[in-house]
Symmetry: C2
Subunit: 232 residues, 2 copies
């Protein structure tokens, strides 16, 4: 049963914790140790309080991590420099800024929730929607298209950033690529004609470029009519 949880200490004691402080400390721990390393005991210790105190400010660990991820998203958005000309370029710049921001906190992207409740998630979808509207897209397509762009930034972003996190131990990108490269090389070219020939592409690829490639595809397909027959 959640009680009234204040963002900043209002009435009570002066040294009171706040949700802001708790989430901030959680982000620090998440950055240092990853999700597995974030523990109520450790967080309480850092904040010099008891574990029970934390539950006054957040409902549970899921909410804590979701709030932390949303906070990171807010930071990322704040760093975006949107060009005034052209809604398309602004969408592009916004998407890239969010990707870059999430990339600095590898645990965050995969814990972003649907843009239905938390502050910065709502803000991002609204920003995207406003820009999409400015694009001249028919009104009845604006919602679907905006949502898709939101999910692309957030979902594909998570996928591209994720490998670095690989469960528990943080494998270095080099190790990860090396191992994947070996795997692909050992594949039967008869069964995997594409992958067998793509080892060099895998080794040389840039994550951010990949994200941008897809974002551009999406934005270029923006004026697609619904239910088309795609090109052959």
């Amino acid at each position: 049963m959640p009680r009234t949880r204040g963002r900043a200490p209002a009435g009570g004691r002066a040294d009171a914790l706040s949700q802001e402080v708790v989430v901030g400390a959680a982000i620090t721990l998440l950055d240092e140790l990853g999700e597995r390393g974030l523990t109520f005991r450790l967080l309480a210790e850092r904040l010099q309080t008891g574990t029970g105190a934390l539950y006054w400010h957040v409902a549970n660990k899921d909410e804590l991590v979701a709030l932390a991820a949303d906070q990171v998203l807010g930071h990322a958005m704040a760093a975006a420099q949107l060009p005034a000309e052209g809604a398309g370029s602004a969408l592009r710049a916004l998407g890239i800024a969010v990707f870059d921001g999430l990339d600095q906190h590898p645990w965050a992207a995969s814990h972003l929730t649907a843009p239905t409740a938390l502050h910065h998630g709502l803000r991002l979808l609204d920003r995207i929607g406003t820009l999409v509207a400015r694009t001249g897209l028919p009104a009845e397509r604006q919602f679907a298209v905006s949502t898709v762009i939101f999910y692309y930034v957030t979902g594909v972003g998570a996928r591209i950033i994720a490998p670095a996190v690989t469960v528990g131990a943080v494998t270095s990108r080099e190790d990860f690529l090396a191992r994947a490269g070996e795997r692909w090389s050992s594949l039967d070219p008869g069964e995997y004609p594409f992958l067998a020939g793509a080892v060099e592409d895998l080794r040389g690829h840039d994550d951010r470029d990949q994200f941008v490639t897809g974002l551009d595809m999406l934005l270029n397909g923006l004026h697609t009519t619904p239910d088309p027959t795609p090109p052959a």
Copy 2:
């Protein structure tokens, strides 16, 4: 230190477990109880064995869940009926089939890993790559574009399917939308001009249509030249 873990009992006893059996039982548990409900103790009980036995067949819980998700992906791909004409339509059909398959196991999409190690992930990327190549796209763009399509299906799919799972308790889609709708309605239209006007779209939207909308945008933007200025 992982040992040689056989897929099927080869030499040893006839009643031996196998990775296949363990993963299969895990999928059942995951479907019934979600990720939180999958427990080595419960799994061992279902398989009438001890928890330690499971570690002979999988390295740990992360691997178990990843294998289970990969298995679901395999099933989804098997259900795809690809048209012979047109690589674009085949890509579309493949993407949709995978989405539909993942949608039946809501826990699965978010546990899919990068297509670098597990069987069906590799197969899916290879299929996509082969189709993209058939599209006539310049060779040097095929890898980036294929990867993006893989990540779209997998990552955006996860995002669209996820809300139904919302941590722990499985909120019904209706409850979820109702709550989100209330939230959006209460937003200040000055600060959230787009969302405030999109409540009806939210209520009436179809998840699958949304997925397909984005997939079509992506496929229509396929022949986009690198680093373009998107339309205004």
